[in-house]
C-alpha cells in the first residue's frame, strides 16, 4: 500500500492550476485570466497538504499566516510587502443592543495598511505577478484599490499605474498620488475606466492589472477575510454574514474560505447564510436577486457609495449562486440610510467606516426589519474601509459648529444650550 503523497509547494505555493468557473476547462498557472474556450473567469485550484490550526496560529499576524491557502511563493512573508490583514473582529454589543440582536461582530478592515480590505488582494496579486514575471502593477479602481496598489508597489519597489474615474473623493485621489506612481484620472464611470484597462491589459504584456489579467490570484486574497473571521471566532463559522457587493468577488471568496476551512477539517460544518449589501444607486445584483434571475443586467451607477459603484459586476452571477445556496439574500439601501448606518456604527462602536460600511449596516437593519436576518443568530458584518476617505458623506454632522470664547462662562452658556439635546445614537 502506498503512503498518501504529501504535495510539495511550487513557485506559487500549493496552487496547482487554473480552472474555468464556467466550463471547467483547466490550464496552467500563469496562462491568462479568461478561459480560452468560453471567456469564463479562471479560478486558482490547489493541491493542498494537511494543515492544522496550530500551524496557522504560529504564523505571522497578517494574511501570510494563510499563505499555504494562497497562490503565492512560499517565501512571500519575507519579501517587502505591506503585511495586510489580521484586522480586528470587534464584538459590537452596543450596536447589537440598538438593533435587538443577540451577538454581532464587525470585521473592521480599516486596520489594513491603506485602510481597506484591498491591501489583502493586492498583496496576493503582487506576489503572484512578480513571480510570473510582470514588471508593472496596475489597476482600474474606484479608489481604495488605487491606494492599495500604489502603496504596495512603492513598498516592493516596482512601478505602478493606477486608473480612476476623475470624480472620485479627493481623499482617495490624494491617497493614491502620494505614493508616487503614475495616476491616471479618466473622464467617465468606473465601468468606463475598467473597459480602458481591459483593452490596455491586452496590449501591455508585462503589466499586471491586478483585477483584470491577474484577477484569478488577486481575488483569492479576499479569502483571508473569511479565514480570519473563523479563526477569530475560535475556529467557528458565524451563522450569518453580511458582505458589501461591488464586483461581488469579496462575498464569493468569503464563502469559498468557509468551505475550504470545512474541507480541511479546520472548522466544523455549521450552516451559515451569506447576505450581500448594495447601494440602491447601484444595485444590479440585488435587482437580479429580487427578480429571481441568475444573470445580472448592468446599470449606470449613481450613489455616494463610490467604492461599490460598479454597474457591471464581474462576480454578480456567483454572488447570486452563493446567497441562494446558503439561504441568504441581496438587498440595497438608499443614500440616506447609508449615512445613517455610518453614523450608527461610529456612535455605537467607535468605528468610522466608509460609505460601504454604511451600506452593509444599512442592509443589516433593513433585513432585520424585514424578518430576513435572524436577530438571535450570531452575525458578522464587514466594514470594508475607512470613513476618513469618504468624509463628504457625513460632512453634515459637523455643521452648525460655532466656536466659543476660551472662558468658563462661555462654556457654561454652551452647556446650558445643549440641555435636552444630548448627543446619542441617532
Amino acid at each position: 500500500m502506498n503512503a498518501p503523497k504529501i504535495p510539495a509547494p511550487s513557485r506559487l505555493g500549493y496552487a496547482s492550476h487554473l480552472a474555468c468557473r464556467e466550463c471547467g476547462a483547466t490550464t496552467e498557472l500563469g496562462s491568462g485570466h479568461a478561459c480560452a474556450k468560453c471567456f469564463g473567469p479562471l479560478e486558482v485550484a490547489y493541491d493542498l497538504p494537511p494543515l492544522t490550526r496550530e500551524s496557522i496560529e504560529a504564523g505571522p499576524p497578517s494574511i501570510w499566516r494563510y499563505a499555504s491557502l494562497l497562490p503565492v511563493p512560499p517565501a512571500v512573508a519575507s519579501t517587502p510587502n505591506t503585511e495586510p490583514g489580521w484586522t480586528r473582529l470587534v464584538r459590537a454589543d452596543h450596536l447589537a443592543t440598538e438593533l435587538g440582536m443577540r451577538a454581532l461582530w464587525v470585521k473592521d478592515e480599516r486596520g489594513n495598511p491603506t485602510h481597506s480590505f484591498k491591501d489583502r488582494v493586492v498583496a496576493v496579486a503582487l506576489a503572484a505577478a512578480v513571480e510570473l514575471g510582470y514588471k508593472v502593477l496596475a489597476c482600474p479602481s474606484t479608489g481604495n484599490l488605487a491606494n492599495a496598489v500604489a502603496a504596495a508597489a512603492a513598498r516592493a519597489g516596482i512601478r505602478s499605474v493606477v486608473m480612476i474615474p476623475s470624480d472620485l473623493e479627493q481623499q482617495k485621489i490624494i491617497g493614491s498620488a502620494v505614493f508616487g506612481g503614475t495616476l491616471v484620472a479618466v473622464r467617465g464611470s468606473y465601468d468606463d475606466v475598467n473597459r480602458l484597462a481591459s483593452e490596455l491589459a491586452d496590449d501591455r504584456e508585462d503589466w499586471a492589472f491586478v483585477n483584470v489579467n491577474v484577477r484569478p490570484y488577486y481575488a483569492e486574497g479576499s479569502k483571508t477575510i473569511g479565514f480570519e473571521i473563523a479563526e477569530q471566532l475560535g475556529w467557528r463559522l458565524p451563522e450569518q454574514i453580511v458582505v458589501p457587493v461591488a464586483s461581488g468577488a469579496q462575498l464569493v471568496k468569503v464563502d469559498k474560505a468557509f468551505r475550504e476551512l470545512v474541507a480541511l477539517g479546520l472548522a466544523e460544518e455549521t450552516g451559515y447564510r451569506v447576505f450581500g449589501a448594495q447601494a440602491s444607486g447601484c444595485a444590479p445584483v440585488a435587482a437580479a436577486f429580487r427578480a429571481g434571475h441568475d444573470v445580472v443586467q448592468p446599470v449606470r451607477p449613481s450613489t455616494i457609495a463610490k467604492s461599490l459603484a460598479i454597474g457591471n459586476p464581474a462576480d454578480g452571477p456567483y454572488v447570486l449562486d452563493v446567497v441562494r445556496r446558503t439561504g441568504g439574500a441581496v438587498a440595497d439601501v438608499a443614500d440616506e440610510e447609508i449615512v445613517d448606518g455610518m453614523r450608527l456604527l461610529a456612535q455605537t462602536e467607535g468605528i468610522f467606516g466608509e460609505t460601504a460600511g454604511g451600506v452593509t449596516l444599512g442592509v443589516l437593519r433593513r433585513l432585520l426589519a424585514d424578518g430576513v436576518i435572524d436577530p438571535d443568530a450570531e452575525t458578522v458584518i464587514i466594514n470594508s474601509g475607512e470613513g476618513l476617505k469618504t468624509l463628504d458623506a457625513v460632512a453634515g454632522t459637523a455643521e452648525g459648529l460655532d466656536a466659543i470664547a476660551p472662558t468658563l462662562s462661555a462654556f457654561a452658556e454652551l452647556e446650558s444650550s445643549l440641555t435636552g439635546r444630548e448627543v446619542g445614537p441617532l
Binding site: 485570466h33 492589472f209 483584470v212
Partner: protein, 98 residues
C-alpha cells in the same frame, strides 16, 4: 464603407494575429456572422449555443455597451467601431429575458 472590429488577444488565433479586422455593417448579429464567415469559429466564441452573447464577453459599438442598447440587434453603422472585450474584470450577462 465597412465597420472595424477590435479583436482581443484571446481571439487573435482566429484572425492570424490581427488585432483589428473589418466587416460589413448591419446588426451586431450580422456583423458577427460576417466575421465567422471570414474567420471560421470566431462567432461561436462570442455567441453561445443558444444564440445569445456569452456571459463573459462584453461588446461595444462605439462607446456603447450593447447590453445598454439592443444587444445582438444593435445596429452597427458603416464607419463605426466594434470592440470585443473579455469581461473578466467587469463581467456581465445578457440582459434578463433576452
Amino acid at each position: 464603407m465597412s465597420v472595424s472590429v477590435r479583436i482581443p488577444t484571446i481571439l487573435r488565433t482566429y484572425t492570424g494575429g490581427s488585432a483589428e479586422v473589418t466587416a460589413e455593417p448591419g446588426t451586431l448579429r450580422e456583423v458577427i456572422a460576417g466575421l465567422d464567415a471570414a474567420y471560421p469559429g470566431i462567432g461561436g466564441r462570442i455567441i453561445d449555443d443558444t444564440g445569445n452573447l456569452r456571459r463573459f464577453v462584453n461588446v461595444y459599438v462605439g462607446e456603447e455597451d450593447v447590453r445598454f442598447a439592443e444587444g445582438l440587434d444593435t445596429q452597427v453603422a458603416a464607419g463605426s467601431r466594434v470592440s470585443v472585450i473579455p469581461a473578466v474584470a467587469g463581467g456581465a450577462d445578457r440582459p434578463a429575458g433576452r
